[in-house]
């Protein structure tokens, strides 16, 4: 029987559906567990723009206070800004209220360490042990701390961004930029940031009220309004953020979406031309990155899926990594902060346009052409691993097999990857090839094989 749960507890934090699984009590338990894990102290609490944020945030505050922590509220804030702030504030850690790109009815928590990073595998395990054991360090009233709130939590992040980028070079070009914040947390910083880079900005969905004028995942089918805006205003480029502003999609000056895979490719080409060094990406990121790193003669390291896995590998390179990220529009520039950051991505692309003197469509044309297709089927982790075992047997000796995360098989000039999602009860299927038709063919063949395997089993 297919069990689909509305609550996911994973390395990416907690996500659930408001009014179903995501109750005040559950949220308070997680905050108590995290406060206990961190052993008290100041803990920064921020949120994306979801309307349920107020319910979730108050549950978190209550849980943190009960275990003697001092919550420091910063309100609605992009998650990369939040991570930078947590590190600079010298807090014990942070809790960010978000369900990333999930639809409106979802919300959740992401747990941030003292360094402003997501918890790694081991930290997550330790923390979840405390949650499951339910032994929280409740303190008596005399030891309660007084909650605080801080304004302008984006300031340290903005400062880092502006000192990294050649603002003079970008400003001179007076770019016209269309920005779609998806009514997410990015809206509190994006217009200001672009203005500081001397861009003329046309903002849409720029009120951070969680109304989500469109699905907050920056994939081509969700950003038609932005494409239209680029055309109508004759903008040089269009940018689309997701609800917590860690991912970015790009629209060229003709109003055509590049596909979120292109964001990291463009950003990487620019960074490597300035500062060649190792690149760290996950298993599902386009093989165009293999071509790019080869042309710059720098190593390419692939990791398991999940932002923290990429970040951990970047940190393991001890400062040598030039750039990292994920194909979903998540650009990580360790010099700013080891986290996915849509602002960094915007800055890099604008700087690339300014220094090269090329339009975005010209830059796009220079990227090796591959077509990546993402599909999914409903299924549990258990079912996913059954499928993986069967498929692995079938493709033995037919391609280069990686079991680092699910199953990835690399062929001559194409590959496919099957793995269970960390955040939703689904199995993801990803394939990439030189042409769209071929990638499509690979996915539909894979789906046929899967239904064959399932039929045989039952």
């Amino acid at each position: 029987m297919m069990r689909v749960t509305s609550l996911k507890i994973s390395i990416s934090g907690v996500r659930g559906i408001v009014g179903e699984s995501l109750t005040p009590q559950l949220l308070a338990f997680f905050a108590q567990a995290y406060g206990t894990y961190l052993g008290g102290g100041a803990i920064i609490v921020g949120q994306d723009s979801r309307t349920s944020g107020i319910m979730v945030k108050n549950a978190v505050l209550s849980g943190l206070l009960s275990v003697g922590c001092q919550p420091v509220e910063v309100g609605i804030c992009p998650i990369p800004s939040f991570q930078v702030f947590t590190k600079q504030a010298k807090a014990r850690g942070g809790i960010f209220v978000t369900a990333s790109h999930n639809p409106k009815e979802w919300n959740g928590l992401k747990f941030i360490s003292q360094e402003g990073l997501f918890l790694n595998y081991h930290q997550t395990e330790e923390f979840l042990d405390i949650y499951h054991q339910g032994e929280f360090s409740l303190v008596e009233a005399e030891k309660y701390r007084i909650p605080k709130s801080k304004k302008n939590p984006t300031a340290p992040h903005l400062k880092k961004l502006l000192s990294y980028f050649k603002t003079g070079l970008i400003s001179k070009r007076k770019f016209k930029v269309a920005i779609d914040c998806a009514n997410g947390a990015g809206a509190v910083l994006a217009p200001q940031f672009l203005q500081n880079l001397g861009c003329e900005t046309i903002s849409i969905n720029c009120v951070p009220d969680g109304s989500f004028a469109h699905h907050p995942e920056p994939v081509p089918e969700n950003i038609a309004q932005l494409c239209q805006t680029v055309i109508e205003n004759e903008a040089n480029v269009g940018f689309a953020q997701d609800a917590d502003a860690d991912r970015l999609a790009v629209v060229n000056e003709k109003g055509e979406p590049l596909g979120e895979e292109s964001t990291l490719l463009l950003a990487s080409k620019h960074v490597l031309s300035k500062n060649p060094g190792p690149v760290v990406i996950n298993l599902s990121t386009s093989q165009a990155m293999d071509d790019i790193t080869r042309s710059f003669n720098v190593p390419l390291i692939r990791t398991k899926i999940g932002e923290i896995n990429v970040v951990e590998q970047i940190l393991a390179q001890q400062g040598k990594t030039a750039i990292g990220g994920e194909g979903n529009g998540g650009v990580i520039l360790p010099e700013i902060h080891p986290c996915r950051d849509s602002f960094t991505a915007m800055g890099l692309i604008l700087e690339y346009m300014a220094s090269s003197g090329h339009t975005i469509s010209e830059l796009q044309a220079e990227i090796p052409e591959y077509h990546l297709i993402k599909d999914k089927i409903i299924g549990t982790q258990e079912q996913a691993y059954y499928l993986i075992r069967q498929l692995k047997r079938k493709y033995q000796n037919k391609g280069e097999i990686s079991l680092l995360d699910g199953l990835k098989i690399q062929f001559e000039d194409h590959w496919f990857h099957i793995r269970p999602s960390n955040t939703e009860p689904i199995i993801r299927l990803i394939a990439e090839a030189k042409s769209h038709e071929k990638a499509k063919r690979i996915v539909s063949q894979l789906k046929n094989e899967i239904s064959g395997i399932i039929k045989k089993k039952s």
């Binding site: 408001v18 005040p24 108050n58 849980g63």
Partner: protein, 449 residues
């Protein structure tokens, strides 16, 4: 033994032991469900654990779909007054009143602005026990709004109710010690509205209680020590939610909290005669005062909920308890420290008498209040055992056991808020009052060991 009291009008316990975010959320969810996801008010006193309970309630009420109007730090009587004015279906007051800083509590208030009645409270408890909490979907979550202009409305109406002209003319000077509780700072508005000069003590909303927030002589030393020096006419102590008051005379005499009710009744029932409601533990003074004006005295179990319900049902004019909580039906059905202070000022002004003289006018009794810890599992049987001491006497069992004598009485009952047995003894003679209390204490002590 963990201390938690779940009663009809709310929950009370020790923070970090029994008062946890989960328990608070469960009760707030139950109350939100009971209110059918309608509008609800919330306020807290200044206790440092307050923000924890406050956030837990906000989250739970929003999740149950209630529209929440947040009054922030606000005295309970003002919160209760605002319920009707803001057309709310109910309210939650976060305060443990007179208990020390270790404690906190939720009190549930109905749409009339009074503590939940037995029937209403039981309904909330049923929802809590069944855990049938309404969970609103994301689009139907409650909205949250902060309200801050309510003080003016309250004091404007209090000013209309009192004889402000007389108070103003008397040019009174008063000392108030709100114990850094919810009354702090708000006493400034109170005095301004009555044009009375204020000498405040412990007037910060910081939740650090310089003494137990219980208005009674043993906590009145600070007020007593300055009252003569500043030449004030009267001194007041408030509990942490400003529902109860005790007095200090102009000579610096710390007055028992038992005086507050008879003092006010002695003035107000002459202005407006009618039934006076009190509990079985309050001083006999009130009966003597009522006799003068021929007002009936009706007695209930101890607790604001019972006393106020009785005031509503019996069409009482005044209700109050010996602990210093007073309500006047014409103003609002809630114990109200500001109203009590205001009426005492009005009495001083209209009678043109010093507070010490007004006390002289009251009959003299000596009251002894003792309490002894008893495990909750046997508390009622221990109280019942005490009947053996009074084998041949007439015993009133309306609230614990009470034995009346010509010159006084003694009552033994369970505390509504703690696992304690309370012994209250009153007599014209101090020795007799003490002797009766000791007799009971000696009998109980071996039983609770």
């Amino acid at each position: 033994m963990k201390l938690l009291k779940i009663g009809i009008s709310g929950i009370r316990g020790i923070v970090g032991e029994t008062i946890t975010p989960e328990l608070v959320m469960n009760f707030a969810c139950a109350f939100g469900t009971y209110l059918d996801s309608k509008r609800v008010l919330i306020a807290r006193d200044t206790r440092i654990s307050g923000p924890m309970l406050h956030s837990a309630c906000l989250s739970a009420l929003i999740s149950s779909g209630c529209e929440v109007l947040d009054l922030g730090i606000c005295p309970a009587p003002i919160l209760q007054y605002m319920v009707k004015r803001l057309k709310a279906k109910g309210a939650i007051s976060i305060s443990a009143g007179h208990n020390d800083i270790k404690w906190n509590a939720l009190t549930f208030i109905n749409q009339e602005g009074t503590y939940l009645s037995t029937f209403q409270g039981e309904e909330v408890l049923d929802i809590y026990h069944l855990e049938k909490y309404h969970k609103a979907s994301w689009g139907r979550l409650g909205k949250l709004e902060s309200i801050d202009n309510y003080q003016d409305i309250y004091f404007k109406n209090l000013g209309k109710f009192l004889d402000v002209e007389a108070i103003k003319k008397s040019e009174l000077k008063i000392v108030i010690d709100p114990c850094n509780g919810a009354g702090a700072k708000i006493i400034d508005s109170f005095c301004k509205s009555l044009q009375t000069e204020l000498v405040p003590i412990n007037n910060e909303q910081n939740g650090y209680f310089p003494h137990d927030p219980e208005p009674r002589p043993r906590n009145a030393q600070q007020v007593a020590s300055i009252i003569k020096a500043v030449k004030a006419d009267v001194g007041f102590l408030l509990n942490s939610d400003a529902s109860r008051v005790s007095l200090v005379s102009e000579n610096g005499e710390t007055l028992s909290e038992e005086y507050t009710l008879p003092l006010i009744a002695n003035y107000y029932s002459k202005k407006k005669p009618g039934p006076i409601i009190t509990n079985h533990s309050s001083s006999r003074m009130i009966e003597d005062v009522a006799r003068e004006t021929n007002c009936p005295v009706i007695k209930t179990k101890v607790g604001q909920s019972y006393v106020i319900q009785s005031m509503i049902n019996e069409e009482g004019v005044i209700a109050g308890e010996g602990s210093g909580g007073i309500a006047i039906a014409e103003f609002q059905p809630a114990f109200d420290g500001f109203l009590a202070m205001g009426l005492i000022l009005e009495t001083i002004a209209r009678r043109k008498k010093k507070i010490s003289q007004l006390i002289q006018d009251l009959p003299k009794y000596h009251i002894v209040k003792e309490k002894i810890y008893c495990p909750p599992t046997k508390i009622h049987s221990v109280v019942n055992e005490v009947k053996k001491v009074y084998r041949d006497r007439k015993i009133d069992s309306s609230d614990g056991i009470k034995v009346e004598e010509k010159s006084g009485w003694v009552q033994v009952r369970t505390s509504a808020t703690e696992p304690m047995i309370r012994i209250i003894s009153e007599d014209k003679s101090k020795e007799r009052a003490q002797q009766r209390a000791e007799e009971v204490m000696q009998f109980i002590s071996p039983l609770v060991k």
